[in-house]
């Protein structure tokens, strides 16, 4: 039974990996914006590090974790667009009438999304290393960062798949993705330490799941293994995933029902 499910997931994952290799654009599509932010913001805001109370050696060290998180969020919305394309191309129907489990279709997709997000996060981390960023927790810390960002990304991908399954429109899925990701990102501590945020924003950021993602990643880059931040982030991720993946599964059932 387990072997059968793993086999099905492996087949569907393999299909997505083949596409990724064949069409490198699928790997870089959701990377452009994080790359741009990494390069521009680290320069434009570099003098922010001189502000009293900023607390980091330079802005790059502060920014890199945010960009790693942003990469996962962006990639999450690519997940929904892929779902729309599979529906439009009649491929979802092909999978649905094959004698495989419905859950394998979703799990195969999640595993493929996770792989893509890992590769993208790794690319961002490598580039920031070249730019001069240093990672306090070393290679294990980098792996932990990728894992944390990917888990959060999977939870976030639930939102994009709900939009995709409800609208069946790739453009709309991307637009809604941008409209959700941007405000939520800027309303977090992603670009500014909470001590420098206006007080109302500080309160908002406290209820923003992305703040917890960024805090855990930022600790791994700059401070060390801050288990409190890590467990808080994982708890928030779990809560988010319960909501978004349940909604996505329900939307999926509606489409196939």
């Amino acid at each position: 039974m387990m072997g059968r499910v793993l086999r099905e997931i492996h087949i569907l994952w393999g299909r997505n990996m083949r596409k990724l290799v064949r069409i490198p654009m699928l790997l870089f599509f959701s990377l452009f914006q994080p790359l741009l932010f990494l390069i521009l913001f680290s320069q434009v805001f570099s003098s922010m590090a001189k502000l009293p109370g900023f607390g980091y050696d330079n802005y790059l060290q502060f920014l890199v974790p945010t960009i790693v998180g942003l990469t996962a969020l962006n990639s999450a919305f690519q997940s929904g667009m892929g779902m729309v394309n599979d529906m439009d191309a009649g491929l979802l129907d092909k999978f649905l009438i094959a004698p495989i489990r419905r859950s394998s279709i979703l799990l195969g997709k999640i595993v493929a999304d996770a792989t893509r997000m890992s590769l993208q996060a790794l690319l961002i981390i490598a580039l920031s290393f070249i730019m001069g960023a240093r990672f306090k927790t070393g290679v294990p810390g980098v792996l932990a960062m990728i894992l944390i960002a990917v888990l959060f990304g999977i939870a976030w991908a639930g939102i994009s798949n709900v939009v995709a399954l409800r609208t069946r429109n790739a453009e709309l899925t991307m637009l809604i993705g941008i409209l959700i990701t941007f405000p939520v990102l800027f309303l977090s501590t992603g670009f500014m330490p909470s001590s420098l945020l206006p007080s109302w924003l500080e309160t908002v950021a406290e209820f923003n799941p992305i703040t917890y993602l960024v805090a855990a990643l930022r600790a791994l880059v700059n401070e060390g293994w801050d288990w409190t931040a890590i467990w808080q982030c994982l708890a928030v991720t779990l809560g988010l995933a319960l909501v978004t993946l349940t909604a996505a599964t329900r939307a999926f059932r509606r489409v196939i029902g």
């Binding site: 069409i23 599509f29 439009d88 009649g90 129907d93 092909k94 649905l96 790739a170």
Partner: protein, 334 residues
Amino acid sequence: MAILEAQDLVKIYPGGVKAVDRVSFTVEEGEIFGFLGPNGAGKTTTIRMGVTLLAPTSGRIAVDGIDVTQRPEEVRRRIGYAAQAVGVDDDLTARENLILQGRLYGLSTRQAAEKAAELLEVIDLADAANRRAGTFSGGMRKRLDLAQALVHHPRLLFLDEPTTGLDPQNRRALWSYLRELNESGVTIFLTTQYLEEADVLCGRLAIIDHGQLRVEGAPAALKAGLGGDMVTVTVSSEAADGALERTHAVLAAVPGCQDVTTHDSAVTVVLQDGASQLAGLVRALDAAQVPVARLELAEPTLDDVFLRHTGERLRVEEVKPPSRMLPGRRRRRS
């Protein structure tokens, strides 16, 4: 033996649209059975219920005696399905698409590769096997999609408008391939909006319109069932109002004329013994001074059968494929 059986099949979509309305039919093993009807008649909805993609609102549809809603997985192993919109991954090669399908149906990688190679020969795509499907022409994509539906030796093949969007040459090539496939033992259930396709390909067919099955039978029997030859009288476009109604009345009174129907600017009748009674019909039109633009005598076609049972001519509309977006994906579609 019946391989596909529908009984009082009904599908009402959320919102209340009754797409399929108490449809019953039986497809015997070894047949090519066709659903002929215009867009929106309920053809695709019926197929999607047959292939386990859509649950009927009521009624029953069974493949090989197995209820589609009760044991869908057993049904899935017995059927192949090629939808109207081709279900091909543009980013993969033809061979990769076929291997993927084979593996989803439980073949090992090696078995799937062997099967793919065999099918690529059959559908004449061996030379293009390692090209990305996104670069294929409409005809090639249709053939690849058909091959995908065959990787697991299905006993029953569902084809939703298999030749819509193909040029006449590709259409004919596909017909001959479908016939070969049928001769090799695969039962085919297809939908079409093309009269000629239904006529040439189907051993039996059913006419479906507005969700209802109007008539069912072999094409020749359906045509013979009209009971004579068809005479179509087209009234001059400059004729005064009421000319069409007058023509209708005149023809209805001619002995031997049956089933007088009016549509657009023409009146069609079935003339029991065509040639010999034509003189009387012409005399009657002349006596009533009907402004005739054209008069035709022909053997009945499926179009006449369609008209007789639905009250309308079959209108063919091409459907545009859905728009798509993602990097590397803005490619030509059939």
